[in-house]
Symmetry: C2
Subunit: 209 residues, 2 copies
Amino acid sequence: MGSISKHTLQRLPTYLAYLKSLPCADNACISAAAIAAALELGEVQVRKDLSAVGSAGKPRIGYPVNDLIQHLEYFLGYSTRNRAVLVGVGNLGLALLSYGGFADYGLDIVGAFDSNPALIGLQIDGRPVLSMDELPTFCQRENVQIGILAVPSAAAQPCCDALIAGGVRAVWNFAPVHLKAPDGVLIQRENMASSLALLSYHLKQPERN
Amino acid sequence: MGSISKHTLQRLPTYLAYLKSLPCADNACISAAAIAAALELGEVQVRKDLSAVGSAGKPRIGYPVNDLIQHLEYFLGYSTRNRAVLVGVGNLGLALLSYGGFADYGLDIVGAFDSNPALIGLQIDGRPVLSMDELPTFCQRENVQIGILAVPSAAAQPCCDALIAGGVRAVWNFAPVHLKAPDGVLIQRENMASSLALLSYHLKQPERN
């Protein structure tokens, strides 16, 4: 993951969301202690994370909020546009296609793919639904870098392979399976089953109060 | 998290999905080495994880597949039913409501809540959409243990508080904000913004090939 740890990187969007939730004020500053308290993190951790994106707080003043927001957005690449395709236009796929918020993170979904002939040819919020045969060519032609997989488990590996054949370098996998990919391709798994396991296990424990 | 580590717990659904994907055969066995190779994990890790759920492989034979599936399902509580409500019937909320797969994980969504009067009174796949005022009473009466939050960031904390007032002990949070909760309540965040940060950062790195 290069020069910054995966865990730091995963916390950065949380800092950004928190800073953006603060009332707007020019020249407002915030201390690492205040950020740490709001997000229930350690103050040393906050200083370390923010220094990794090139922000340094000033003694007794803290971090200028607007500068910090800009640093985080730049570092996270939200100002860079990344073109993505969605594979699998079921309920989850439709929700991901319709969700307007991804554009704020620099993610533009430019096309969708499905194997169901009844869906092919539809336009969903301005994006065409195309057949799986067209996937690699579309990705190459449209310079697509991210593939979002919202297909059933059994279809996930072949769809992942088709994305990689089209030159995609990062795959966001919502299917509950482990995928294999060559070096240089990142598979980021959104593992809802793991989250459910944690919730369910917590409920099995006796109440502490 | 009690006697088992969070990381082990998060891997268990992956073992289970893999074992269930294998061709059915009575008395079939599988070695830790084969599981490790398929899931790209270390063999020692696999043995340790499976021993935490009470499964021990036999030398030169391995683990009986069907027993292992039963152990994992029992340990993960998929045979126990957990009653949940969904708060926020937007695109994501609708997708979560319509997704049939959660029942396999022991999760039953028994009701949905929204602040939009146009939605209140609807039935979605047999679940009523109710007003936010009714949330705490409904949760108490229906013995709801899990709240699923699919609301905008600004609404997440008040909705979380309402769930906890209704006796919910575990909250699955899809809003990109940090939530505060009393001890004994688990907040499990599904952090899509963090996943996007990892994808976007990966694409900023020079290609290695």
